[in-house]
């Protein structure tokens, strides 16, 4: 088997194909921010504790800081920049605005990515379930009640739609 200290990672991000040369230590988060300049995904703790770096990897929400870029070879990644379509915000993004679900905004991209996945997973059946399945996204401004309202509203809209 072949071992390398530098390699080129081919992956799709928000529908676009990239080939990115990286040092093996590069995380998916750093690839997005530093190599592709997609800085919507935030680097909070860089230890998998805060959820600010949440992105979708092959359709599932994950912490971008916990994946080596090399492991994302061939993957389909969606970031906060890839949610809006034709200039129209994703319903979860709109719900965060409508419910005043952020203050400083630093955790918001991760919150939104997590919420989009949570609704798709079917884990928005009650307030308690939403709180539990959103618990991997910390908000130091403590906008939790508003975040919960936004996710509930977006989830009921998704069900109605």
């Amino acid at each position: 088997m072949e071992f390398r200290s530098h390699l080129t990672v081919a992956l799709r991000v928000n529908g676009r194909r990239y080939e990115v040369p990286v040092d093996t230590r590069t995380t998916l988060l750093d690839l997005l921010r530093e190599h592709l300049e997609l800085t919507g995904t935030k680097k909070g703790c860089n230890f998998g504790e805060c959820g600010a770096c949440t992105v979708h990897l092959n359709g599932r929400r994950v912490n971008g800081c916990m994946i080596l870029a090399a492991s994302a070879e061939g993957a389909e990644v969606t970031t906060i920049e890839g949610l809006a379509e034709d200039g129209k915000l994703h319903p979860v993004q709109q719900a965060f605005i409508d419910h005043d679900a952020f203050q400083c905004g630093f955790c918001t991209p991760g919150q939104v990515m997590s919420a989009v996945a949570l609704i798709r997973e079917g884990h928005a059946r009650s307030a308690a379930e939403i709180r539990e399945w959103m618990s991997g996204n910390l908000c130091r401004c403590s906008s939790y009640p508003q975040i919960l309202s936004a996710v509930e509203a977006a989830a009921s809209q998704a069900t109605a739609g």
Binding site: T24, C65, I67, E121, R131
Partner: protein
Amino acid sequence: MQSFDYGHAADIGEALANGDAPNTVFLAGGTELLNWLRLGVAKPARVIDLARLKGFADITRLPGGGLRIGALARLNDVALNDDVARDYPVLSQAILKSASAQLRNLATIGGNPLQKTRCGYFRAEETLPCNKRKLGSGCSALKGINDKHAIFGWSEACVATQPSDPATALSALDALYVTEHKDGGRRIKAEDLHTLPGDTPHIDNALRDGELIVGIELVGAARHSAYLKLRERESYEFAIVSAAVALDLEGDRILRARIALGSVAHKPWRLNQAESALSGVAANDTAAIRRALDASLVGAKTLAHNAYKVRLAKNAAERAIRLAAARTW
């Protein structure tokens, strides 16, 4: 982070052939390894990514009624699997109470039990005396902040606990860890996977260099089972104490009880004495259950700040027994 060489193993043979080389580590979910690399807990020269191994994430029925869970199955996929949720609720609950939804989408059931202690001295970003980090440097927690530390099986060299929720559930289920190694694989009983610190606190488990957990086998079913996790916040936090209980019941009577405590020792801690004493006891006989638990907990050895964990452990076990008994099928 120190630089390392990275490669994908195309198959299990390739992983094992390269796995026991010096300074070589396996990468599964990565949710522990990446933090070890950042903290300098691990400084590997080579990382073998296991992501391309085929067939190691399947959950299949064993002939005879048990279940085999591929080591690379992601935690959420194990917890939400119908067979696991129905037949081994203790495992499903333990997984859903471990980590966040995002981490559980990455972390694997084979990797999770190999996580290291959450001791603040061990995980410190600056180097502090810690025999796990540097053997012979001392244990900062022994006379330091040790409110979350061990009450069983610790040594002067190390008072750290093993924090894995799934490992605690797997201990109560008498699971077998199936391993492969280029010199031959084996089945390790859950109770034998983790080691006690003794004078070798830098060693966490019984795995040899290059030995890989490839699956977990569960025998029978444990429908009367439950996991209770006590922590400082309701979600997304490590346990202060947890209790995994699996009961075999005949009517209201306990035929066999299996009880493992988490975050109280360097390994999931089975309450063998209590288990024996509970055989034949009515599941609603609170006084008898408390007596049985007292007998097991009398051997606890507390540190300056963690005596409260003994009471907490006893109460957690008692409540988990009630939860397990109350499950109706």
